[in-house]
C-alpha cells in the first residue's frame, strides 16, 4: 500500500507550478461569492442554489478561478462549480498531497467556528493542475459552502 502511495507521489511530482496572479480571484472575492451563495440559499432555497452554483454559465458564482463548492456535513458533495463529476460523491475521506483530510476539516470548521479559512492542495480547473489553495468556508444550514483561491 505504501509502495502504491509512493508511486502515486512520484506520478504527481510532474505537475507544473502556479499561473499568473492577475488572472486569479482574490480572497475577498471568494468571501463575497460565499456570501452570495448564502444569500441565494436564504432566498431561493437549497435546490436552486445548488443548481445555480453547479451551472458554469451562472457568472455570479463562476469568476475566473473562483467557483463554489457545497458539501453536507457527512462530506457528500451536493454542488460543485468546477467539477460536476464530484456531485453526489462522498469525499469525507479525501486527502490532499500532504495528507490533509480537507473535507473533514472544512466540515469541522463549519461545525465549530462556523466559518474560516483553510489551506490545502487542489487541482486548478483552469490549469488542471494541483495547486495550493486557500478556501473560505462557512456553515449554511446543514451544509457548508466554500470558495477558494489558488496561490
Amino acid at each position: 500500500m505504501r509502495f502504491l502511495a509512493l508511486l502515486l507521489l512520484a506520478a504527481l511530482s510532474i505537475v507544473p507550478l502556479r499561473a499568473a496572479p492577475s488572472e486569479f480571484g482574490s480572497k475577498d472575492e471568494a468571501v463575497a461569492m460565499v456570501k452570495r451563495v448564502e444569500a441565494m440559499f436564504q432566498k431561493d432555497g437549497a435546490d436552486a442554489t445548488f443548481k445555480a452554483v453547479s451551472d458554469p454559465s451562472t457568472k455570479e458564482f463562476h469568476d475566473r478561478d473562483l467557483y463554489v463548492f457545497i458539501y453536507n456535513m457527512s462530506g457528500v458533495c451536493v454542488a460543485h462549480g468546477a467539477r460536476p463529476a464530484l456531485i453526489g460523491k462522498n469525499l469525507i475521506d479525501i486527502k490532499d498531497q500532504d495528507g490533509k483530510y480537507l473535507i473533514r476539516e472544512m466540515a469541522d470548521i463549519a461545525k465549530g467556528p462556523g466559518s474560516g479559512w483553510f489551506d490545502y492542495k487542489w487541482p486548478n480547473p483552469q490549469t488542471n493542475k494541483i495547486e495550493d489553495k486557500s478556501s473560505y468556508v462557512e456553515r449554511m444550514g446543514d451544509y457548508f459552502v466554500g470558495v477558494g483561491v489558488y496561490r
Binding site: 506520478a11 467539477r83 460523491k89 469525499l91 475521506d93 479525501i94 486527502k95 487541482p123 494541483i130
Partner: protein, 937 residues
C-alpha cells in the same frame, strides 16, 4: 533384584521378605498369570495412550487441513483479489491522467466494476462462513464495512476518472486508504488464523511431546516391571526346575542319596519335589528289592534261572552258571537257552546227548519252551539233576536245577532197607500171629479144665447140701474158693500178659452210663450184703452214653466197687458218675467212695503195682489177686484216661475213673459195630412184677431175687397202694399177700379182676393161708404157700409172662459146661438139646429146629466159626439167635468173623455171672423173635 534366597536371609526388610515368601509359595500358574497381567496392563496403557494421542492429533490435523487452511486460502485469495482490484483502479486513474483513449479505458472501467462487485460477494460470503471464530466474524464484519466504503471510494474514483482524471488522481489517496484498511483487516484476519493455527499446532506439539514422555515413562515402567516379574518368576521357577532337573539327572545316573531342595514350598514346585522324593525312595526300595532278590536267588540251594519270553536268560545264580561251565553269572545274562545248552553239549557235560547231539538239543529246547513235569538229567560228572521248569505269567520260563545225586543214592539205599524191612515185617507178623494164637489157645486150655473143676465141685457141693452131708460141704467150699481164685488169677494174668505184649485191643462202642452202673451194682449186691454195706448210686439218669470199651469200663468199675466192698464193713459205698468238659472234650468221671479201712500214703504208693496189695496180709484176709487195680488202671490209660485215688487211713478211700466221653478219634477209627448194643441191659425191657406185701423183708428178698433173675420189680406195702400201682404201671404180673392190714389179698384180687383194664393181669397169691380153691375161684393165676420156693416162683412167673420158653440147642464139647446150662435153663421151661461139636449140632438142628443156640467156639471136628458159616448157609436157620459162650480170648479177627452172625458173646469166666447173662440174653432173643414173628403175621 535380589534372589528369593537372599531375600529370605536379608534381615533388614521383613515386608519384602514376606512378599517374596508369599510370591514364592504362589502356584506357578498364578505367577505366570501375574507376570502376563502386568505386561498386559503396560501394553494396554501404551495402546490407550497411543490411541487417544493419535485421535487428538488427527482431529487437530483435520481441523488444520479442513478448516484453517481452506479458510486462510479463501482469505488470501480474497485479499489477492482486492490488491488486484486496487492495482486496476490505480492503472485506470493513471491511464485516465495520461490520456489513454476511451476505447482502452472503457473495458477497464467495466472490468473494475465487475471485480468490485465480485469482491463484495466474495467478502460477504467469507463473512458468512460457518467455521469462523467469533473474533474472525467480528473482524470480517468490520472488514465488510470497510470494504463497502472502499468499494464506494473506488467506484467514485473511477466514476470521476471517466471525466476528471485530475480529480480521480486526487481521490486515489482516499481509495488507497480504504484499500489499505481492508488490506490491514485481511492481514489481521490472516494473523488471527495463523495464531489459531499456531495455537493448534502448539497444542499438537505439546500433546506429542507429552505423549512421548508418557510413552517413555510407560515403556520404562513396563520394561522394569516385566524385568522384575521375569526375574521373580525365573527365580521362583527356573532355579528350582534347574535344581530338580539336576537332581533327576543325578537320580537317573543312580545317585540315590540326592537331596533336592524346595521341599517345603507349597506350590507346584514343592509338590514336584515331593513327588520326585517319592520316586527317589521308590528307586531306593527297588534297588534294595533287587539286591534282596539277587541275594535270595543266589541263596537258593538249587540252580535257578529265569528266561524271558524270547528265551534269553534274565537272571540266574552261581550254581546254575556253574552247571553250564560258565564262570560268572554276568557272562550268562542275555544268552539264549539254546546257546547255553548247546555249549553244555559241546563241552560233553550231558552224556545222554552224545549219541545224537542235534536231536537231543532240539528235544531239550522243545521241552524247555513247553515245560511239563520235572525231569531228571544225568551229568557227565556222575551227578543227577532234577530239572523243574514252569512258565511265568509273562511267557518267560523259570527253571530250577536240583542236585539229587544224594537223593538217588539214598533211594537205592532205601530200596535195600525197604526190602530188609519187608522181610523183617513178615517175620514179625508171623511171630505175632503165632503169639496171638498161642495166647488164645492158652487161655482156652487153662480155663476149660478149671471150669470143669469148679463146675463139678459146685455140683458136688449142691448134692452134699441136698443130702445133708455137711462134713463134705466145707472141703468142697475150699476147693471151690481155690478154683475160683485160680480162675480169677489166670484171667488177670492173661489180661496183663496181653497188655504187656501190646495185644490188648480196645473194642470201642457206644453204651449208656447209667445202665452200666446199674449192672455193676446188681452184680455186687451179694458182696455188699455179706459185709453189711449200703450201696448208694449218685448218677444223673440224663448223663447219657459214652464211647469206650464197655467191657473194660465195666471191669474197672466192678473192680473198684468190689474192692470198696471188700475193705469196708458195715459202711457205705457210693458210686457216682458225672460228665464235664475239659481241654476241649467231654470227660466222664466215675467215683467210688467207701467208708472202709483206708490206706496210708506208703500203701497208696504201691497201690497200682502189679502183684502187690496194700499189705500182703490183706490177700489172705480179703482175697483177690492184687492184679485187678493195676489192670483196670492200664485199661483206663489205654483209653486216654486214668484211675486216681485219695485215701485217709481208717477213714476210707475214694477211687476215681476218668475217661474221655468219646475214646479215640471217631473220624479216624470207625467204631466197631456193636455186638451188644442192641442188648443193652435196660430195666424197662424186663417184665415188670408188682410185689404187694406188708412185710418189708419179704418184699426185699423176693424183689432182689426176681431182679437177679431178670425181672423188673415195683413194690407196694399194702393193698391200696398195690391197686394204685397196678393201675399206674400195668405190670406183667402181681404177687399178692393175703393177710394185709388195710385191704386183704382177696379184696385186692377181686378189685383187680373187677377192673376191665386190669382183668387180664395174672395174680399169684403168696400166703401162709392154704385156701387154694378160694384163690383160683377169685381168678388167681397161681397159688404159692409161704415159705415160697424161689425157683418155683421164677418158673411160674416165666410161664405167666411168657418171656422165655423154647427150644435151645447147646453146642459145647465140654459136657460139664452143657450140664450147667441145662440145669440153669430147664427150670425156666427151656427144652434143651445138646451137641458136642458143630457137625453134631447141624444134625440136631435139622432134626429139631431151635429157637436159640448157645455155642462154644473151640471144639473138635467142627469148631464154632465153621458151624456158624454152615448154619448161615441155610436160610431157615439164618435168623436163629446165637449166643457165643467161650473161654477163648477173642482176637479182632475172631470178632470180625463173628460180627453180624451172633447176638452176644459171653466170656466163660464166672459161672454164675455167665448163666445169669445167658438167661437174660435168651429171654430177650426170644422176645425179639416173637416180635418179629408178630410183625410178619
Amino acid at each position: 533384584m535380589t534372589s528369593p534366597d537372599r531375600a529370605v536371609t536379608s534381615p533388614q526388610n521383613g515386608g519384602v521378605r514376606s512378599v517374596f515368601s508369599f510370591f514364592r509359595n504362589l502356584p506357578v500358574q498364578i505367577k505366570a498369570s501375574a507376570a502376563s497381567a502386568v505386561l498386559l496392563i503396560c501394553l494396554l496403557a501404551l495402546g490407550t495412550n497411543a490411541y487417544l494421542t493419535s485421535k487428538r492429533t488427527a482431529e487437530g490435523l483435520r481441523s488444520l487441513s479442513n478448516e484453517l487452511i481452506p479458510k486462510q486460502q479463501a482469505f488470501a485469495s480474497a485479499s489477492e483479489a482486492t490488491i488486484t482490484a486496487h492495482m486496476k483502479i490505480f492503472r485506470y486513474v493513471s491511464w485516465a491522467s495520461n490520456g489513454v483513449s476511451d476505447s482502452l479505458l472503457k473495458p477497464l472501467y467495466g472490468e473494475i466494476n465487475r471485480d468490485l462487485d465480485t469482491l463484495s460477494a466474495r467478502i460477504s460470503a467469507l463473512a458468512q462462513r460457518p467455521d469462523l471464530s467469533s473474533q474472525e466474524r467480528t473482524t470480517l464484519r468490520e472488514l465488510l464495512a470497510k470494504w463497502e466504503s472502499c468499494k464506494s471510494h473506488a467506484k467514485d474514483t473511477i466514476d470521476v476518472g471517466q471525466t476528471d482524471a485530475a480529480m480521480a488522481t486526487m481521490m486515489l489517496g482516499q481509495t488507497d486508504d480504504t484499500f489499505e484498511a481492508v488490506d490491514t483487516d485481511f492481514q489481521n484476519l490472516s494473523n488471527v488464523m495463523s495464531g489459531t493455527a499456531r495455537i493448534l499446532s502448539n497444542k499438537l506439539y505439546y500433546d506429542a511431546e507429552q505423549n512421548e514422555n508418557i510413552i517413555i515413562l510407560i515403556t520404562l515402567a513396563g520394561f522394569i516391571i516385566s524385568t522384575l516379574v521375569a526375574l521373580l518368576v525365573g527365580q521362583s521357577i527356573v532355579r528350582p526346575i534347574k535344581s530338580i532337573t539336576d537332581g533327576m539327572q543325578r537320580l537317573s545316573a543312580g545317585e540315590t542319596d540326592v537331596q533336592i531342595g524346595y521341599r517345603d514350598r507349597r506350590d507346584e514346585i514343592g509338590r514336584m519335589v515331593a513327588a520326585i522324593d517319592v520316586f527317589r525312595r521308590n528307586i531306593i526300595e527297588r534297588h534294595a528289592m533287587e539286591q534282596t532278590l539277587t541275594e535270595a536267588i543266589e541263596a537258593i540251594s538249587e540252580g535257578f534261572s529265569l528266561y524271558d519270553a524270547d528265551d534269553r536268560i534274565v537272571a540266574c545264580n552261581t550254581r546254575y552258571s556253574e552247571m553250564f561251565s560258565y564262570g560268572r553269572v554276568s557272562e550268562m545274562i542275555g544268552k539264549s537257552f539254546e546257546s547255553i545248552v548247546s555249549n553244555a553239549v559241546n563241552h560233553d557235560l550231558i552224556p545222554d546227548a552224545k549219541s545224537d547231539p542235534r536231536r537231543w538239543l532240539a528235544e531239550r529246547v522243545v521241552r524247555h519252551r513247553d515245560p511239563g513235569s520235572p525231569h531228571v538229567q544225568h551229568r557227565s560228572d556222575g551227578r543227577w539233576v532234577r530239572i523243574s521248569e514252569r512258565k511265568t505269567a509273562t511267557g518267560g520260563i523259570v527253571a530250577t536245577y536240583a542236585d539229587i545225586t544224594e537223593l538217588k543214592q539214598r533211594e537205592a539205599e532205601l530200596a535195600g532197607l525197604v526190602h530188609q524191612l519187608e522181610v523183617a515185617r513178615d517175620a514179625a507178623n508171623e511171630a505175632s500171629r503165632t503169639k496171638s494164637s498161642f495166647l488164645a489157645n492158652m487161655s482156652h486150655e487153662l480155663r476149660t479144665p478149671l471150669n470143669a473143676i469148679i463146675g463139678v465141685t459146685e455140683m458136688l457141693r449142691e448134692d452134699a447140701h441136698e443130702f445133708n452131708r455137711s462134713d463134705e460141704v466145707e472141703p468142697l467150699d475150699r476147693v471151690l474158693r481155690a478154683g475160683r481164685h485160680l480162675l480169677a488169677l489166670i484171667n488177670d494174668i492173661l489180661d496183663l500178659s496181653k497188655i504187656e505184649a501190646g495185644k490188648m485191643e480196645l473194642h470201642i462202642e457206644e453204651f449208656g452210663i447209667a445202665p452200666l452202673i446199674d449192672e455193676v451194682v446188681k452184680t455186687i449186691e451179694t458182696l455188699a450184703d455179706r459185709n453189711d454195706n449200703k450201696l448208694v448210686v449218685a448218677c444223673d439218669p440224663a448223663i447219657g452214653a459214652m464211647h469206650a470199651d464197655q467191657t473194660r469200663v465195666r471191669q474197672a468199675l466192678l473192680n473198684l466197687v468190689s474192692n470198696a466192698n471188700k475193705f469196708t464193713e458195715r459202711g457205705a459205698v457210693t458210686i457216682s458218675a458225672e460228665r464235664h468238659r475239659d481241654a476241649g472234650r467231654d470227660w466222664i468221671t466215675m467215683t467210688v467212695t467207701d467208708t472202709g479201712i483206708g490206706m496210708t500214703p506208703e500203701q497208696m504208693g504201691k497201690l497200682f503195682q502189679e502183684f502187690s496189695q496194700a499189705d500182703s496180709s490183706t490177700t489172705r484176709k480179703y482175697g483177690g489177686t492184687g492184679l485187678g487195680l493195676a489192670i483196670s488202671r492200664r485199661f483206663c490209660q489205654m483209653m486216654d484216661g486214668d484211675i486216681t485215688v485219695k485215701s485217709e487211713h481208717g477213714r476210707g478211700s475214694t477211687f476215681t475213673i476218668r475217661l474221655p466221653a468219646i475214646v479215640g478219634d471217631l473220624s479216624s477209627s470207625a467204631p466197631q459195630p456193636s455186638l451188644s448194643a442192641n442188648l443193652k441191659p435196660a430195666a424197662s425191657d424186663a417184665p415188670l412184677i408188682l410185689i404187694i406185701d406188708d412185710d418189708a423183708t419179704v418184699r426185699d428178698v423176693v424183689g432182689r431175687y426176681l431182679e437177679r433173675e431178670g425181672f423188673s420189680v415195683v413194690k407196694a406195702n399194702g393193698g391200696r397202694e398195690g391197686l394204685s400201682m397196678a393201675r399206674k404201671f400195668h405190670p406183667a404180673a402181681v404177687t399178692l399177700d393175703v393177710m394185709m392190714p388195710d385191704l386183704d389179698g382177696w379184696t385186692v384180687l377181686a378189685a383187680i379182676k373187677g377192673d376191665p383194664d386190669l382183668a387180664d393181669l395174672p395174680v399169684i397169691l403168696m400166703t401162709i393161708v392154704d385156701e387154694k380153691n378160694r384163690g383160683y375161684t377169685l381168678g388167681a393165676a397161681d397159688y404159692l404157700v409161704k415159705p415160697v420156693d424161689r425157683e418155683k416162683l421164677v418158673g411160674v412167673l416165666y410161664t405167666l409172662c411168657g418171656s422165655s420158653a423154647g427150644h435151645l440147642l447147646v453146642v459145647d464139647d465140654d459136657d460139664i459146661g452143657r450140664r450147667q446150662v441145662r440145669t440153669a435153663l430147664e427150670q425156666r421151661g427151656w427144652k434143651i438139646t445138646e451137641a458136642a461139636n458143630g457137625r453134631e449140632a447141624l444134625t440136631k438142628l435139622s432134626e429139631t429146629p431151635a429157637d436159640a443156640i448157645i455155642l462154644d467156639l473151640m471144639m473138635p471136628e467142627m469148631d464154632g466159626f465153621e458151624f456158624l458159616e454152615e448154619m448161615h448157609r441155610n436160610p431157615q436157620w439164618r435168623e436163629i439167635p446165637v449166643v457165643v459162650v467161650t473161654a477163648r480170648e477173642l482176637t479182632d479177627e475172631d470178632r470180625r468173623r463173628l460180627d453180624g452172625g451172633v447176638e452176644r458173646i459171653i466170656q466163660k469166666t464166672d459161672r454164675d455171672e455167665m448163666l445169669h447173662e445167658v438167661r437174660n440174653v435168651l429171654a430177650k432173643c426170644v422176645e425179639k423173635q416173637r416180635n418179629v414173628q408178630a410183625a410178619e403175621t
